[in-house]
Amino acid sequence: MSSTRAQPDAYQEFIKGLWRDNPVFVQVLGMCPMLAVTNSATNALAMGGATFFVLVASSFLVSSLKQWIPKQVRISTYIIIIATFVTVTDFTLAALVPEIHKELGAFIPLIVANCMILGRQEAFASRNSVRLAVVDALGMASGFLFALFALGSVREILGEGAFFGLDLFGSDFEPWVIMILPPGGFLTLGLLLLFFSWIRERKEKLAQQLAETEAELR
């Protein structure tokens, strides 16, 4: 019984992070790495990947250990767990992909301070089963990765005329340099937020109209 009921639940938890409660476009969390390292699609993917690993691993551990962590020291314990995974990620990236690690610079260690990660531990992983906590973390992390990638792609295409370092438009294209500078991050993020809110609003209106016409038909 539990398995048949848990299936749609888990799916809902996953979709929640990816779309309905997207950490960036809806909750507007984790803005610091979001704006700082999304000047190219590669950097955005690397940052998203690092955050993905840290969030999923931390959620798993926090949820598994939740009975043993006294609530008075829970936040400190979460931070220790998160910081451990971040440091492990930092060293691993430096050893495996040194070029990308150099580009991301101080922002890998700063994942510790990403409020989205601590937020998921406190709001979800510490109160739910390990399975749900991992699914929730997977959803949120995918949502974050998706948002970083969207921002990074737009900024790289407009700001460098390239995608993943591949030249797109040839030499006639004058790169829109401001897009890869910090102001470009704010501009792009603002426009993307606008775009996603517009989609949401339109969807709600459509649903409302549908309900109204259905009511009239009856």
């Binding site: 043993w68 006294p70 020291v73 220790i80 060293f91 790169p175 340099v177 890869i180």
Partner: protein
């Protein structure tokens, strides 16, 4: 769950020993994990840094076939591969016969946002800079990072006289062999690169022996033997 509930009802707090023990244990485990990952990745990271530096030496001294690290000890240059703290060193570039061709000199200084570390190739016979490679910088993407992304700017350092000193001029106005065309929109970064090289020259030029007096490539073993 019931236990937790009861504790909450009675208002009982877990003992402080338990709190300290939890945090202590978490910290201990975390430390162990971090140290083991650090130990596991350190050789790869060090090897990568050494590789980048080696490649940069061959990049800034185009015609050499061998290189050797030369540390400045007791007022003279000594071939020494092992790095030590607070030790100043350059890299000697040698041709196939073991004759010294030039030096690759590391230098660093403040850029627009953070320290720029670079390596440049210097030929003592011609008193010329023949190459420059940025090892580390956090210059503005799209503007300041042209100090290594803009091939035209980097080419300035392919054949550059150092006398009386290197100066940066507005782009397109280079007339003398000691001038560098600065990057439009990244004047500070361009000037920083020039200043860093001039500082490197001030520190190193008088210490560097000419091609004939320099420690030759093969001498290293004999020198070590004599010292011992």
């Amino acid at each position: 769950m019931s236990e937790e509930h009861e504790t909450a009802l009675r208002g009982n707090e877990p003992s402080s020993t338990r709190l300290v023990a939890t945090l202590g244990l978490a910290g201990l485990l975390s430390g162990l994990i971090i140290v083991s990952v650090f130990e596991a990745t350190l050789p790869t990271i060090t090897a990568y840094k050494a590789k980048v530096l080696r490649e940069a030496v061959f990049e800034v001294l185009p015609d050499i076939s061998r290189m050797r690290r030369l540390a400045y000890l007791d007022g003279r240059l000594t071939a020494k591969e092992q790095e030590e703290k607070d030790e100043q060193a350059v890299f000697g570039g040698y041709d196939a016969d073991g004759r010294l061709m030039g030096y690759a000199i590391p230098s660093a200084g403040p850029g627009f946002q953070d320290t720029i570390r670079l390596l440049y190739g210097y030929l003592p016979a011609e008193r010329k800079v023949v190459g420059m490679e940025i090892l580390e910088s956090r210059e503005t993407p799209g503007l300041g990072d042209k100090i290594y992304k803009d091939a035209a700017f980097v080419a300035n350092f392919g054949d550059l006289s150092i006398d009386p000193e290197i100066v940066s001029v507005k782009k397109g106005t280079k007339t003398a062999p000691n001038q560098v065309d600065a990057i439009t929109g990244a004047t500070i970064s361009s000037k920083a690169v020039v200043r860093i090289i001039n500082e490197g020259n001030r520190r190193w030029l008088e210490r560097l022996p000419g091609p004939n007096e320099a420690p030759a490539f093969e001498v290293q073993k004999e020198q070590k033997g004599r010292k011992r």
